[in-house]
């Protein structure tokens, strides 16, 4: 206790000592700042160019990030919020906490058009069901086949998890008014619904299910980091729902130029090169060196499905109650 208070005191003293160099405070989700995420390398690379102190603050997961910004309001210390996705940006824009991005915007390589005035994408991915190729040789090609099969799947709860919400919108976008019947069909395939991605993926690796809702890029981790090519994502012919992760600048920032500089840096190769093998997502702007080797083996969905932020915000409550009703029968 004493030591913690002492340490806390010391860190205050330390931050006062460096008060001359400007501090850029970036709020993001916890796995971004972790030692195994992009955070440490990003900090090093940006500080080498900016003559500033880049401080990441982890706020739990993606949904907690927005909640934190809302709780703090305009008095908060954040300059940048990094890690919201398009399912949250409508609500984020509504708070009035974000400032318009400076022009011109960097060119991006997204499968869809992007012209949001407040938020700049930094990576993206497709949601997909991941399976083990050595155990499942003939994966389903769409949700109907999955529903008709005896395959067991693990999904995340849309109320507590970003991929969970992604799946909800995926089914809704692909099937519209038939979404309910798809969920009813899937009910007997779903082994369980977990709080977050980590639990779901952990259970899948333990062999609790044949498939797990994750990202189309997940097999790249096993291939590149573990030299294990047994994992694959099933390609669904309805298309795959996208997650686009974005960053925005807080209107209350006391270092707006530095914030702009960081946003520009986020579109540069120095940042984008880190994304594929630390966040295991596609870079929003393809670096000059292209993608790492293992990424060429990943599935390439024909259709990229996504709701606009406004549509996503408008439809999610209806989609959630359809999901709840279908799975509670």
């Amino acid at each position: 206790m004493k030591i913690s208070i002492f340490a806390a005191g010391m860190s205050v003293v330390a931050s006062m000592a460096t008060a001359q160099t400007p501090v850029l405070t970036v709020y993001t989700y916890d796995s971004f700042v972790s030692d195994w995420g992009p955070g440490p390398a990003v900090e090093k690379a940006f500080e080498a160019t900016c003559d500033c102190d880049l401080q990441f603050v982890g706020t739990g997961d993606g949904a907690a990030l927005l909640a934190r910004l809302r709780l703090e309001g305009p008095r908060g210390p954040a300059d940048i919020a990094l890690g919201l996705d398009t399912n949250q940006t409508a609500a984020a824009a509504e708070t009035g906490l974000f400032a318009p991005l400076s022009q011109p915007r960097p060119a991006l390589d997204l499968p869809v058009d992007w012209n949001d005035p407040l938020f700049q994408p930094f990576d993206w991915g497709y949601f997909a069901f991941v399976y083990d190729r050595t155990k499942l040789t003939n994966p389903p090609a769409n949700f109907r086949e999955l529903a008709d099969s005896n395959l067991k799947i693990i999904i995340e709860d849309p109320r507590s998890s970003t991929p969970g919400l992604g799946l909800l919108l995926w089914v809704k976008k692909a099937y519209g008014d038939d979404a309910s019947s798809i969920w009813s069909g899937l009910a007997d395939n779903i082994v369980t619904v977990t709080k977050g991605w980590s639990e779901a993926y952990g259970l899948f690796l333990e062999g609790e299910a044949d498939m797990v809702l994750s990202y189309s890029t997940s097999p790249a981790y096993h291939l590149i980091a573990e030299q294990d090519d047994s994992k694959a994502a099933a390609r669904f012919d309805e298309g795959h729902y996208m997650q686009i992760e974005v960053a925005g600048k807080l209107a209350s920032s006391d270092v707006p130029e530095l914030a702009d500089q960081f946003l520009a840096f986020m579109a540069s190769d120095a940042f984008q090169n880190l994304i594929p093998t630390t966040n295991w997502m596609y870079p929003a702007k393809l670096p000059a060196d292209g993608l790492p080797d293992g990424f060429s083996t990943l599935i390439k969905p024909e259709t990229a499905l996504i709701y606009s932020p406004e549509q996503a915000a408008a439809i999610r409550n209806k989609a959630l109650s359809e999901w709840q009703n279908a799975l509670s029968e």
Binding site: D35, P77, S160, V191, G202
Partner: protein, 525 residues
């Protein structure tokens, strides 16, 4: 008389301050969240479904845990064998594990791909599917059977050896011993044990979600989560948390009213000998019960051990650093829990003749069991943000919150022990003029050493494994071990996460063992 004898002293004051702290952290944070809400919203029908399911699963989980704990505690109380102490301590381990670790361990045994299923498939049966209410109950019994057993075992150990001696002299059969000694004890102990397990299961969330199999298994805590994160509806979150508190308070009051005070009288602290239960069939019965329980509780731990062993020494330095951080937080939380619970328990006992007041203090002590960690964390954030940088305070705040979260268990353990001391030796101490600090030092502390060690060990271990509020507050360099474990998992590093899980299990258990053993030194209990 005892009232006067204990007098007004620092411990009384700290006891009252502890009550105030609990109120701030529970109801205060709730009000803070409510006050921050924009617009009012109301509780809908789906929320009442969640309330119903919460009560159902918590009631069943508590009932099963307590019913199974009685024969197990009896077996442990009347048998002596090599490694008994270690077995008792080890069986407590599930309770102190972080949920995800315990769940993975449980699934390694009872999952679709687990040992039990493998054996069944090999024998030509279908594999087990534990997802659903059954899975929730299985996990809750796995978590709480050890705690219930320990709480009930304490009741058995509080019956002095002389009672059993007298019973033997009178030629009591096993049945007669049960009627005259054991059942009155259980009558006093069971309601409290049931209540504690009920409250733990009531706020359980990740277990229910993972093993519940889907939205059918929605608890109030999940509804709070949804209100916060999906809807950012603070008003609804606060209302749901209010419902949860009300249910918790009701359960507590019922339990405290139902439990009859126990007084087994004083003894000379002899080693308990059980002449009534030496029959061979009773020995066999007890052995089977203990073996079955050990298998059920220890097999998942063994799975965690197997999964993590190869990884522990290859863990990166950051994980060790966070382990050190967690240890510091755990020690701080343990110290605070002991301070809070001891002083509160002393006040409860001192004021026992004013039953309503005494019960109110005790009930407040249990309040955190019904609290939502998410509401506490968010409320604290709202309270702290205007006056300080919550991130800089992350670790001290975590220690305090952890301390208060363990308070109910410590109080449940210490209060009956202190009550017993006061009822047995209170008059003697009064007549000797032993009061204040001297009474605490010379009479009470030495006689509650066992329970105190148990409470301290539990508090340290629970704090070690807690993810709780730190997740909302911590900066990048402040991760505790459970947080680091989650970070590893979310970076796909499941093997290293298994190593971190084992490290966490070992450290939590070592802390628990150290204090619990320290409390039982020289005492054959």
């Amino acid at each position: 008389m005892a009232k006067r004898a204990l007098g007004i002293n620092p411990s009384t004051l700290i006891g009252w301050l502890s009550v105030a702290l609990v109120l701030v952290l529970t109801l205060g944070t709730l009000l803070a969240v409510f006050g921050r809400a924009e617009g009012a919203s109301s509780i809908g029908p789906s929320d009442w479904v969640a309330v119903r399911f919460t009560l159902l699963q918590a009631g069943l989980s508590a009932a099963i845990s307590v019913i199974l704990a009685v024969p197990l505690a009896r077996a442990l109380a009347r048998r002596r064998f090599m490694g008994r102490g270690l077995l008792i301590a080890l069986m407590g381990a599930p309770f102190i594990l972080p949920v995800i670790v315990a769940v993975l361990g449980l699934l390694a045994v009872f999952g679709r791909n687990g040992i039990a299923s493998t054996v069944l498939v090999w024998a030509g049966f279908d594999p087990i599917s534990i997802y659903g209410l059954g899975g929730v109950l299985l996990a809750h019994v796995f978590f709480n059977l050890p705690l219930a057993t320990r709480l009930i075992l304490q009741g058995w150990l509080a019956i002095p050896a002389e009672r059993f001696r007298l019973a033997a002299e009178l030629g009591f059969s096993c049945r007669a011993v049960a009627r005259h000694l054991e059942r009155p004890m259980l009558r006093a102990v069971l309601p409290g044990a049931f209540m504690v397990v009920f409250l733990i299961c009531m706020t359980s969330f990740a277990v229910v979600l993972v093993l519940g199999g889907g939205p059918r298994a929605t608890t109030v805590e999940l509804a709070i989560y949804q209100a916060f994160r999906f809807d950012f509806d603070l008003s609804k979150a606060a209302q749901l948390a209010g419902i949860q508190f009300t249910l918790g308070a009701l359960a507590t009051v019922v339990a405290l009213r139902v439990s009859a005070p126990m007084s087994a009288g004083s003894g000379l602290d002899r080693v308990v000998m059980r002449w009534d239960s030496s029959a061979i069939w009773l020995r066999v019965q007890d052995s089977i019960i203990m073996l079955a329980a050990a298998l059920f509780l220890l097999a998942p731990l063994a799975a965690i051990l197997v999964a993590g062993t190869g990884q522990v020494f290859r863990l990166p330095p950051q994980v060790w650093l966070s382990a050190e951080r967690s240890l510091l937080v755990a020690m701080a939380a343990m110290t605070l829990t002991v301070l809070f619970s001891l002083t509160m328990a002393l006040n409860v006992v001192r004021l026992r003749h004013r039953r309503r007041l005494s019960m109110t203090i005790e009930a407040i002590g249990y309040l955190t069991l019904a609290a939502s960690p998410l509401v506490i964390g968010t409320g604290l954030f709202i309270l702290l943000f205007p006056i300080a940088n919550p991130v800089a305070l992350a670790l001290p705040v975590t220690a305090i919150v952890n301390a208060v979260m363990s308070l109910p268990f410590a109080l449940r353990i210490l209060k009956p022990a202190i009550m017993e001391v006061e009822q047995t030796y209170g008059s003697l101490a009064d007549s000797l003029g032993l009061r204040g600090t001297a009474r605490l030092r010379l009479l009470i502390l030495p006689r509650i050493r066992g329970p105190l060690g148990f409470a301290a060990g539990l508090a340290a271990a629970l704090s070690m494994g807690d993810l709780g509020v730190i997740a909302l507050f911590a900066g990048p360099d402040q991760a505790t071990l459970p947080m680091q474990l989650y970070r590893l998992m979310s970076a796909y590093r499941m093997a290293e996460a298994a190593g971190a899980a084992l490290l966490l299990l070992i450290l939590s258990f070592a802390l628990f063992w150290m204090f619990d053993k320290g409390g039982r030194m020289n005492a054959d209990t």
